[in-house]
């Protein structure tokens, strides 16, 4: 699962959905892997407006990636390239979360990740 995916996922518990704490989920004991992926500036440009930038900064910091700037780069900056673009590409496209847990900051529920597939199924008392 590419780390980009984490920016699209919150806690699956319905009562958590309204809480800002349920997003982003916090990786715990995460085992990461890195694939070599061709840089694709067009893809980044398309994704950028859909990213929750502050959530992305949180994820990057929690996994020990270099700090991202406080505000998202503009599309022009993306086209120019540079360090931020490289960091973003590495973080969003090349890094995979393979094993570990994703923890909700609201209810504390832990979603297990195995073989790169996170499990968001809930027990009956949380449905």
């Amino acid at each position: 699962m590419k780390l980009l995916t984490l920016n699209f996922l919150s806690c699956a518990v319905k009562t958590c959905k309204t809480s800002p704490l349920s997003f982003p989920l916090h990786p715990k004991d995460a085992e990461l892997a890195k694939d070599d992926v061709e840089p694709n500036p067009d893809l980044l440009t398309n994704i950028l407006p859909r990213l929750d930038w502050s959530a992305l900064r949180t994820t990057a910091a929690e996994l020990g990636f270099p700090d991202l700037p406080e505000t998202a780069p503009s599309p022009e900056e993306l086209v120019e390239g540079g360090k931020t673009v490289q960091d973003l590409h590495e973080l969003l496209m090349e890094t995979q979360i393979v094993e570990g847990k994703l923890v909700c900051g609201c209810c504390g529920h832990e979603y297990a990740v195995r073989e790169g597939i996170a499990n968001f199924l809930l027990p009956s008392h949380l449905v």
Partner: protein, 472 residues
């Protein structure tokens, strides 16, 4: 200029929606001049020949596209039109190598007739060498014969088209590449490669786009979308379908097989009714981006017949009161499998539409498959949502693979099965009809019941052979 599209005469109702979707993907102004479900020939107007080649480069249902030089109901009418409108083009092909071919649909001619007809174009004055293999230019005369023309002994076709060959679609290449027979890992309900690719076309999968399949299974749709350059996401309530054997036969293994790993975004185990995907707020009037993530959602949801339709929950909490406390105790164990209950197909459709409205960007598309019985009594209406505009409804008729034929008293086959591919466009908030939203919010139907049959009229009808009350 006008162009002739040579369709494949199969999946007829999918052809025009695919052509129009391709025009949207490529940003080409398309004008359909003539089209019929009963004919493989369609004439369109396009800005240029370069646009024509680009238009069909990823088409699955188009065989080829041609610069249209002349058309008519008789051969002499074609000659008249070629002489009247294309003399300025003739000098361009004066010295290149070329060949002429005759493409007869539903008909044939003796070889001598073919040569006589080809020679009747001698006035074009092409002086270059005639090369049968890989010529510089190919000129094709198409004949549209009526059904059954050979046994009826008909002398002439009803229509002719004459044109210069420009390009072929992806029909010969991509369905073969993604063919299920050669795919490492499939399951009983994997979508066949041709229709998965057509679905990806209708949902406008393209480089840089994000596509999501909430019933991913072994990944047929994400593979098709990734083939067109999209970044794909998927989920399934049953994690085993994605994991496979954990070695080579996995969803990821399929992406590896086709060298499409760059298009694999993320797969996760989840239930659509309790989805972790973050959603936008309907009608917040935003820029259509923040909060909404996907460019396209494509899926083939379980109909509840071959594959059970289940969501998280307990079927009957009163009958089995121990299930919930037991789950509370055990859910943290790694091998815990959460209980599931049967669910209504119609409720599932409503959920899919609502999910799409909340997660698709403006003009993003939802394409999904649903069953439909040809019979009036059993026909399911196309579900609607005020934030989603229906773009196309395509029907695939089965002869016998999925549904039983019901033989009526007179021995004729009266009912066959079919399924539909329905495509919607996410309207920008500003274009949504607020009256429709009010009506929709007030009238959301409830689909209740506990057993699979109660919840799912389609399933019930399937196992009862689609007999209408009062039938023998």
């Amino acid at each position: 200029m006008e162009y002739l599209v040579r369709f494949s005469q199969s999946h007829e109702t999918f052809r025009r929606p695919e052509l129009e979707a391709l025009a949207v993907i490529e940003g080409i102004n398309l004008d359909v001049v003539s089209y019929s479900l009963n004919s493989p020939f369609c004439t369109i107007r396009l800005p240029s020949s370069a646009a024509a080649t680009r238009l069909i480069r990823r088409s699955i249902l188009i065989q080829s596209i041609h610069e249209l030089w002349g058309a008519g109901t008789t051969l002499s009418a074609v000659h008249d039109q070629v002489r009247a409108t294309t003399t300025h083009l003739w000098p361009l092909y004066l010295s290149c190598s070329f060949k002429f071919t005759l493409d007869s649909y539903q008909g044939s001619r003796p070889a001598a007739d073919k040569i006589r007809i080809i020679n009747s174009f001698a006035y074009l004055g092409f002086a270059g060498p005639i090369v049968m293999r890989l010529p510089d230019e190919e000129f094709v005369l198409f004949e549209d014969w009526p059904w059954n023309s050979t046994p009826l002994g008909l002398a002439d076709p009803t229509r002719y088209f004459f044109g210069r060959f420009l390009a072929v679609g992806a029909r010969d290449e991509l369905p073969r590449k993604l063919d299920l027979k050669r795919r490492r890992y499939i399951s009983t309900t994997s979508m066949d490669a041709e229709l998965a690719l057509v679905t990806a076309n209708l949902a406008l999968a393209a480089p840089g786009k994000l596509m999501y399949d909430p019933f991913v299974g072994t990944g047929s749709f994400p593979l098709a979308c990734a083939q067109f350059g999209a970044l794909t996401f998927g989920s399934d309530i049953d994690g085993r379908s994605m994991r496979g054997d954990g070695k080579r036969r996995t969803l990821k293994g399929n992406f590896e097989q086709y060298e499409l790993l760059g298009g694999l975004g993320g797969m996760f185990t989840a239930d659509l009714t309790n989805s972790p995907v973050r959603r936008g707020v309907l009608g917040d009037g935003g820029d259509g981006m923040r909060g909404r993530v996907f460019d396209g959602i494509i899926c083939d949801p379980p109909y509840g017949v071959r594959e059970g339709l289940r969501v998280l929950g307990v079927r009957d909490p009163e009958k089995s009161p121990w299930v919930i406390p037991k789950g509370k105790e055990m859910y943290k164990q790694a091998d815990f499998i959460p209980p599931r209950k049967p669910y209504s197909f119609l409720a599932m459709l409503d959920d899919i539409l609502q999910f799409a409205a909340q997660t698709l960007v403006d003009d993003g598309r939802l394409s999904f498959w649903m069953p439909t019985a040809n019979d009036q009594d059993q026909e399911m209406s196309v579900p609607t949502h005020p934030y989603l505009e229906i773009v196309s409804v395509c029907t695939q008729v089965f002869n016998k693979c999925m549904l039983r034929h019901v033989v009526a008293g007179d021995g004729k086959l009266t009912r066959t099965g079919s399924r539909r591919l329905i495509t919607y466009r996410r309207l920008p908030d500003a274009k949504v009809d607020q009256e429709a939203v009010k009506a929709w919010e007030g009238g959301t139907p409830k689909h209740e019941g506990k057993t699979a049959d109660e919840l799912n009229p389609f399933r019930k009808a399937y196992f009862n052979g689609f007999e209408s009350p009062g039938a023998e």
